[in-house]
Amino acid sequence: MTLQFAQVQTPDIEWSLIWPFVILSLAGVLLITITSLIPRTRTGAFSATFTAVSAIIAAGFLPWIADRVNEQGAIGGRREFYVLSNAIVVDNFTIFITGIICCSVVLVAFLLDDYLRREGLEGPEWYALILLSASGGVLLASAEDLIVSFVGLEILSIAVYVLAALHLRRSQSQEAGFKYFVLGALSSAIFLYGIALVYGATGSTTLNGINRSLFQPGVNGQVPAESSSLLLVGIGFLLVGFAFKVSAVPFHVWTPDVYQGAPSPVVAFMASAVKVAAFGGFLRVFLYAFGDLSNEWLPIVAALAVMSLVVGSFLAVVQSEIKRMMAYSSITHAGFMLVGLHSAALDEGTDILGSKSILFYLFTYAAMIIGTFAVITVMGRVGDGSHDVDSYRGLAKSEPLLAGLFAVLLFAQAGVPFTSGFFAKFRIIAAAASDDDYWLAAVAMLASVVGAYLYLRVVVAMVFSEPADTDSDADSGPAYGPIDIPPAALTVLVISVVVTVVFGIFPDLGGGFLDNAAATLTLLRP
């Protein structure tokens, strides 16, 4: 009797298509390994450089991958590749989201280096966690299977929970990490339960499989199947999970506390990469798997959008702490993006305005918010504690360059013309109008006016107010330490402002990328 060795079936993996994900996660692990071998005191600059270079290399593969995807499109195939036995889909949308995440990682790494040095903190773990979190974000946006989505979501989130708590000397930071973790874990549980219910209703966890199960054979080909209440509850739970991650009202309560407590560069990462990744997953799951059920869940998205716009803008106005202000303003921005998601779900055929609007918003918002938090990081001064609006008083006199660049970003967030912020809002409004959702557009615009007051308050403090610490007596409030502007932070700020202004004047720049990614969401829906 001859012994038969069964050939183990391994999936045929095209590694080259998922290099960005692999590089980000490997770089995270590698960084920890390397730095554990060299003395701790020398790791600072090395870790930052390593992180930035890894992210740049990861991003460097994107044009090549895009070429391959579009080549396949050119010869008549679908512009997408399924890798890891259909667990991951690589298409123009994946590429777009990955690109934003990688750029955010580079910029945040720059900020973090000076921040850690100023705060006297140590350690490569900050960078490793950022790399891992970014890899989770890429996985979330490119997952073709809900289980993989969940894994991506967890890698993304858990790393950020830790990052939020990593400023060991600030109790606020610990508190923020804890709050974020408890509420985040709850939302992950709800998300997972949603996956289970959807699986129960459809018998599949892949997005394609779920989508196919929504139809049944009829007289003239496929007709929509009866949607079971089990499926609807599952969709609802998934919606809650994503709404928590993108901090949409009423699932926003963690945002102000976490933004306030977490170290400022980490907030920059949360507001850019994490938000982009969460919206990436949101779009992927809801447009691909549930796009044909949009009648059922779109009203909920509209309601979330309206609540986020209204609550975010009104509560932002009454804050006196800049990080809390930015937290509420990020809720308002999430409301805008939800309006974009709403129109993206209604896009059909060659009409890709909705998908374009939300992708453009994600990109420009990430650029704006990193610059904003670069300033907030610098202005936090030693201890990362002075985030009162009063600490910005008279900044235009003492640091005109910093104040000027910051003012551009604030006006951009308010949606003033000739900044990318205007065109981001305009695209959202236009997309909503193209679907005849005029009321949604009107609510969004009115919320943005209320929100403008908040940005103006900061500008008033910087430009029109005398410095708080000139009259040094005790009754004039706390005196603030000196401001130290490291070159790296200034570079990040300048990059952010240049992107904001250039895309405000030439909003069409790089339109091909945007068109391809948006077309993926609309035309290539299964």
């Binding site: 374009k356 013309p417 305009f426 109008a433 615009m445 009115l446 006016v449 103006l456 008033v460």
Partner: protein, 544 residues
């Protein structure tokens, strides 16, 4: 509608870019060379003004369409264009902008932070130029919004008293007004998309967009709603009662140059918007709702005049007089006939000149006396006789004395409004009398009487000051005596607009009415004793 030929030198874009380049130059000029800042700003704005004058000179006065067209694609998938052109209506607002900025810079100086001051003023000029020339709806909106930023910094940074409050109020009011306008203009483009076959924000194509079977692209309910969304944005800017409350604060707290530009140029954005976008894009809704705006305009006239009478601050008197004057302009616009519209456009120019000059004079008084309280000023006539003389001339032009520029515009407005909205006009005419009351009374208290203390020692105008305000005085007299060069350029554009409006309405148009120029010339020839109302009545009689 568009003039076929375009000229080689891009005149209209350079009206925007020269001030913008000046702003950049000011920004990179070292702060240690503060003495050059004013010179650079003055040179940049004067060059722009000269180009605007050249525009006026080379404008074809017989053509009622758009001239000097520059049209480039900007954002393809949204149909946005870089589309600039002027017609008889916008021409004079461009020229007014070119005139008032150099004068505003010449006549006043900031007491601190010269660099950002001149930077924002030149940016403001670029933005204002853009508003009057843009014919792409979104491009217009961009300029319309961007002027808020420099004005906000000018009021907040170099204003008086509650400057930050005034700046904030100005910004939020205006932004709130135009928020819905953005939704309205996007809706216009999308509703017209099916009729036009593509998405475009080109005003000339959106106006009167119809399906092949002749039904308008935008139904009447939608037209009314969109018109209202536009009208709200413009009403804040004009400002119309009851949305005017930002104006007295902004005007009073702003630095002199800011007040001059605010009154002279920025308020016109609203009234210009009504003509170019309200009437042109939504003729039916504008006609249906004309009564609303006539009423608000008349309330503004009377209310502004009454409140101006009560003011204790000289600058607030002028500020409230703007509310009244802008009420007249709105009355003229919604009279919806050639005389009313021509008068309204002419009065926009006149108001810019006379109110600008008044603010300059008040600024000079404030520089010398450090107060604008009427009760603390008296008998300035004896210490500053030349200033008193200049003030008298400007004030009389603002009141609307025949022979000075204010009369020509007001007369045409009343003439036009009387034909289409008789009872509104009857009430509005009281505004003419009240204007005489509040301005003369203020003048009497400030310049007449016995000069005591500081008032007796106040310095008169310097030669440089006299020279700098001279162009405005010259125009006050010239346009009062001979408004024909202005009116004959406005008229073809206004006629074309009205033809467009009635074509869309598709109702038989009454035979062409006698043009405003002739009636005005007639009225002036009849002698100065014949006041406006008589002329209107006799004209009415002749019609019957």
């Amino acid at each position: 509608m568009l003039a076929a030929e375009t000229i080689a030198w891009p005149l209209l874009p350079s009206l925007i870019f020269v001030p913008l380049l000046t702003a950049v130059l000011i920004l990179i000029l070292p702060s240690s060379r503060a003495e050059y800042l004013k010179l650079v700003a003055l040179a940049g704005t004067t060059i722009t003004g000269a180009m605007a004058a050249y525009l006026l000179w080379s404008f074809d006065k017989a053509d009622g369409g758009f001239q000097f067209v520059v049209q480039e694609t900007w954002v393809k998938d949204l149909g946005l264009q870089w589309f600039l052109a002027v017609d008889g209506i916008s021409l004079f607002l461009v020229v007014l902008t070119g005139l008032l900025f150099p004068i505003a810079i010449l006549t006043s100086e900031p007491d601190h932070d010269k660099k950002p001051y001149y930077f924002w003023l030149t940016v403001l000029m670029a933005g204002s130029m853009g508003v009057f020339m843009a014919l792409d709806l979104l491009l217009f909106f961009l300029f319309f919004e961007i002027v808020l930023v420099p004005m906000y910094f000018l009021i907040g940074g170099w204003g008086h008293g509650r400057r930050v409050y005034a700046a904030m109020k100005f910004f939020i009011f205006t932004m709130a007004g135009s928020a819905l306008m953005l939704v309205g203009l996007v809706s216009t483009a999308f509703l017209s998309r099916d009729a036009l076959g593509e998405l475009t924000f080109d005003v000339t194509r959106l106006a009167g967009a119809t399906f092949p079977d002749g039904t308008p692209a935008i139904g009447s309910t939608a037209q009314t709603l969109i018109f209202l969304s536009f009208a709200l944005g413009f009403a804040v800017k004009v400002p119309l009662f009851p949305l005017h409350t930002w104006l007295p604060d902004a005007h009073t707290e702003a630095p002199t140059a800011g007040s001059v530009i605010l009154a002279g140029v920025l308020l016109k954005l609203g009234s210009y918007g009504y003509i170019r976008f309200g009437l042109y894009l939504f003729p039916q809704a504008a006609q249906d709702l004309a009564w609303v705006f006539l009423t608000l305009g008349v309330i503004g006239i009377v209310y502004g005049a009454v409140v101006a009478t009560m003011q204790k601050d000289l600058k607030r008197v002028v500020a409230y007089s703007s509310v009244a004057h802008m009420g007249f302009i709105v009355l003229g616009i919604f009279a919806l006939n050639p005389q009313g519209l021509e008068g309204a456009v002419l009065q926009m120019v006149n108001h810019g000149i006379s109110t600008g000059a008044l603010f300059i004079l008040v600024g000079w008084i404030y520089d010398r006396r450090h107060t604008r309280e009427i009760s603390e000023l008296s008998g300035l006539q004896s210490s500053a006789p030349i200033m008193a003389g200049v003030f008298t001339l400007v004030m009389l032009s603002s009141i609307g004395l025949p022979g000075l520029n204010g009369f020509a515009g007001e007369f045409l407005i009343l003439l036009g409004a009387f034909q289409s909205a008789r009872w509104w006009t009857v009430v509005a005419v009281t505004g003419v009398i009240l204007a005489a009351l509040y301005l003369l009374w203020a003048y009497q208290r400030v310049f007449h009487g016995k000069a005591e203390g500081e008032n007796a020692k106040m310095a008169d105008l310097r030669v440089s000051e006299m020279l700098s305000i001279l162009p405005l005085l010259g125009l006050i007299v010239f346009l009062g005596v001979y408004p024909k060069p202005v009116l004959e350029r406005i008229e073809p554009a206004v006629d074309q607009l009205l033809v467009h409006m009635s074509v869309v309405e598709s109702e038989p148009e009454a035979p062409a009415e006698p043009a405003g120029v002739e009636q005005l010339t007639e009225a002036l020839e009849h002698g100065e004793e014949g006041n406006g109302e008589d002329a209107v009545l006799s004209n009415e009689g002749a019609d019957e």
